[in-house]
């Protein structure tokens, strides 16, 4: 059979509206907030941690508010407003991809490679508050800053009910059961990072959408607080975590982490329905692991990629995400030698199956992995040699196998797959003659 070498990359964008981070999104009005998916980058080396909270909030700017537990009171310098394009670049670079090969003419001596690749994007300062009132509720405003288009306050609290009342009285629309969700963080002496949009500053930026908030801190906990975000979510939420570390793959240390099914050949029509295909594949893998696992979509040394769905991030972009340990000298790293591994984890979580926050650990695993699905286009020219009939037989076997693979990956029914394949579906293999005798 013919196989070909892959060539260039074409990124397909299929971005979904997305809106959240793992903290609360708390609206200041009663409009419904969409809190279904989010993107977070965690850059970590030792205890130094930089978190970039992606934000595709699409409602009224004055309705945006975010509450995130943090390990300590952050100074102004530890908070930064980053560029949206950095998360978009990470997404494009690490997205599950469709690679395409074409068979050559079975009658020709030389075989010609052809190519095209596609990648799927993931779908994915406080207003003045009376200090006395805050103290009566056991809430302390530890710091207040305006950073970029955000007003940020850092709060500490003695008790969760007081914090809930304080936030409510300060105009934040708190979800039900907020106090219960806040309580474990207060008991762990964590602080609360509360951000809302400063409309005046936001207009000055000239951006239509909010930029990601970045925070840098030291903490022995390698974790993401997802429990707060569940309080105002209806059904499962999706989160893409980009973990950037020095030594190797990142996995969860309190939930099972598995790899997405990958490197399989699927029928050609999947190219037209790649978004649906990947969502169905993800959903089946997620259900197959009891809805409790994190799925790894990409692990690679950031120094290179093969094939590249998008070029790796350059050093300036990496610094923008908070990677602080790279040598700035040009040519300091050869291909693949960069001390930097990107792990892309896709988490679909809900309150029932994820009772605890996500804890992570860095492993020593440097084995590259990517979510990669392969299309092989048959030779469609005229075939006039004897080898051609053998090729057609092999093609029928291959197409049946591709249909079976697709059914197993996505759970799609046979009728849908056969209809999608059209004339490529060769029909069921002929039964041996004796099978029809004693039916």
């Amino acid at each position: 059979m013919r196989t070909a070498i892959c060539g260039f990359v074409l990124a397909l964008s299929a971005a979904h509206p997305a809106a959240a981070f793992c903290g609360f999104f708390v609206g200041k009005a009663d409009s419904q907030l969409f809190n279904k998916s989010s993107q977070v980058a965690i850059v970590r080396d030792g205890e130094h941690t930089v978190i970039t909270m992606g934000n595709d909030f699409s409602g009224e700017m004055n309705e945006f508010a975010l509450v995130v537990p943090v390990p300590s009171v952050l100074s102004r310098d530890q908070i930064h407003v980053g560029e949206r394009r950095l998360l978009e670049r990470l997404d494009a670079y690490s997205a599950p991809r469709l690679v395409e090969y074409s068979d050559g003419d079975p009658c020709a001596v030389r075989r010609y490679p052809a190519m095209a690749l596609g990648a799927m994007r993931s779908h994915v300062a406080a207003s003045p508050v009376a200090e006395r009132a805050a103290k009566a509720l056991g809430v302390t405003v530890e710091a207040a800053y305006t950073v970029g288009e955000y007003d940020i306050v850092l709060l500490s609290a003695n008790q969760s009910e007081g914090l809930e009342i304080w936030l409510r009285e300060s105009g934040y629309r708190m979800p039900p059961r907020a106090a219960a969700a806040l309580a474990p963080y207060i008991r762990q002496q964590m602080k609360f990072f509360v951000a809302k949009v400063n409309l005046k500053e936001q207009r000055k930026t000239g951006f239509q959408q909010l930029r990601p908030i970045q925070i840098a801190f030291d903490s022995p906990r390698f974790m993401l607080p997802i429990r707060l975000g569940m309080a105002n979510a209806d059904g499962p939420q999706d989160m893409i975590v980009y973990a950037v570390t020095r030594n190797g793959r990142v996995e969860s240390s309190n939930y099972q982490t598995v790899k997405m099914p990958s490197d399989v050949e699927v029928p050609e029509f999947v190219q037209r329905e790649f978004g649906d295909f990947y969502q169905a594949t993800f959903a089946k893998a997620w259900r197959g692991h009891g809805r409790r696992a994190l799925l790894t979509e990409y692990v690679w040394n950031m120094g290179f990629c093969d094939p590249c769905a998008a070029p790796p991030l350059d050093q300036e972009e990496l610094r923008g995400l908070g990677v602080f340990w790279l040598n700035d000298q040009p040519g300091a790293y050869h291909m693949g030698g960069m001390p930097l591994t990107l792990t892309r984890l896709h988490v679909r979580y809900d309150s029932e199956h994820f009772p605890e926050d996500l804890m992570f650990q860095q492993t020593g695993d440097q084995q590259p992995f990517q979510g990669r699905y392969i299309l092989r286009h048959p030779y469609r020219g005229e075939i006039s040699c004897a080898a051609g009939s053998e090729y057609r037989k092999e093609l029928d076997v291959r197409h049946r196998q591709e249909a079976a693979t697709l059914a197993s990956l996505t759970g799609w029914d046979a009728a849908r797959i056969h209809a999608g394949m059209g004339s490529d579906w060769p029909g069921e293999p002929q039964q041996p003659w004796w099978k029809t005798i004693w039916r």
């Binding site: 969760s160 219960a180 309580a183 474990p184 008991r187 762990q188 022995p220 906990r221 390698f222 030594n247 190797g248 996995e251 969860s252 240390s253 309190n254 939930y255 099972q256 982490t257 598995v258 790899k259 692991h289 009891g290 409790r292 696992a293 029932e352 009772p355 605890e356 650990q361 860095q362 492993t363 020593g364 695993d365 440097q366 084995q367």
Partner: protein
């Protein structure tokens, strides 16, 4: 059906079934197990020859190999090899009054995690599948019972559960959080196949219970400091207490060991 007299055969059968499960249904690498087995068995034979010890059979290094294969994950070929050599080597070198006190698999695992970032332990690799957990629990109990060491396993599990439950209550979390924390295949593997090792726990029953409670407490303290794999590290740090507890309780009447266990103990190392 008659069970084999030596409880280690049962342990090997159970651990081997976990390994097969890991290879078939989890992402265990195929290259890892042969390297661990080769390193452990070769080190056992070499140490016996060099130190002119009477050959004690290969069941013990087989159990160590299985334990290492199930718990240690490696990013380089030399990691399982070195882990196997150090694990078995510790049995022959780190001894007090003729008895080794580090669980060999635990020693190999912890040493490698200390030496290199290419070695790690994946506590959640088994997933939370109820069937898998039940299987490990039931089979683990059978082995622990067979070896008459369920006191250590149960004392550890009881202490650990009590401490975790207290923490969950203190934080105002819900019961499913506790269930999630206990629903770890690695926790049960550790409880029934590592800390229960009769050769590396104190001889006196009271000392064994105390030892299990200390290991659970140290693990709990490590967890509060966000140390990964706290139970594995706790056993490593507490192992030197075993000869101390043995010395303190040496005047006490020694327990009468059942026949099966006598065969286990007498084969040491």
């Amino acid at each position: 059906m008659r069970l084999p007299k030596d409880a280690r055969w049962l342990q090997i059968a159970f651990l081997a079934s976990f390994l097969i499960l890991g290879l078939l249904a989890r992402d265990f690498p195929l290259w890892h197990a042969p390297l661990v087995f080769a390193a452990c068995l070769a080190t056992q034979i070499a140490c016996e020859r060099i130190l002119r010890r009477k050959p004690a059979g290969l069941l013990s290094p087989l159990i160590t190999s299985l334990g290492l294969t199930l718990l240690l994950r490696a990013g380089a070929w030399w990691v399982p090899v070195l882990a196997g050599v150090l694990a078995i080597g510790s049995k022959f070198t780190l001894r007090v009054r003729g008895r080794h006190f580090f669980n060999p698999a635990n020693f190999g695992l912890c040493c490698l995690m200390l030496i290199t970032p290419r070695a790690w332990c994946s506590p959640t690799q088994w997933g939370e599948g109820a069937m898998v957990l039940l299987w490990i629990l039931v089979l683990g109990c059978a082995v622990a019972h067979r070896a008459f060491r369920s006191d250590v396993s149960l004392a550890f599990l009881g202490s650990w559960t009590a401490l975790r439950a207290a923490r969950v209550l203190y934080l105002g979390q819900r019961v499913p959080v506790l269930m999630h924390q206990l629903a770890s295949g690695s926790l049960l593997l550790f409880t029934f196949f590592m800390i229960s090792d009769p050769k590396t726990t104190p001889r006196a029953p009271a000392a064994r219970l105390l030892f299990a409670a200390i290991v659970a407490s140290v693990a709990f303290a490590l967890q509060l400091r966000f140390v990964q794999n706290p139970i594995v590290w706790a056993l490593f740090f507490c192992a030197p207490l075993v000869p101390v507890l043995d010395a303190l309780t040496s005047n006490e009447k020694k327990e009468t060991l059942p026949c099966a266990l006598q065969s286990v103990v007498s084969s040491s190392p």
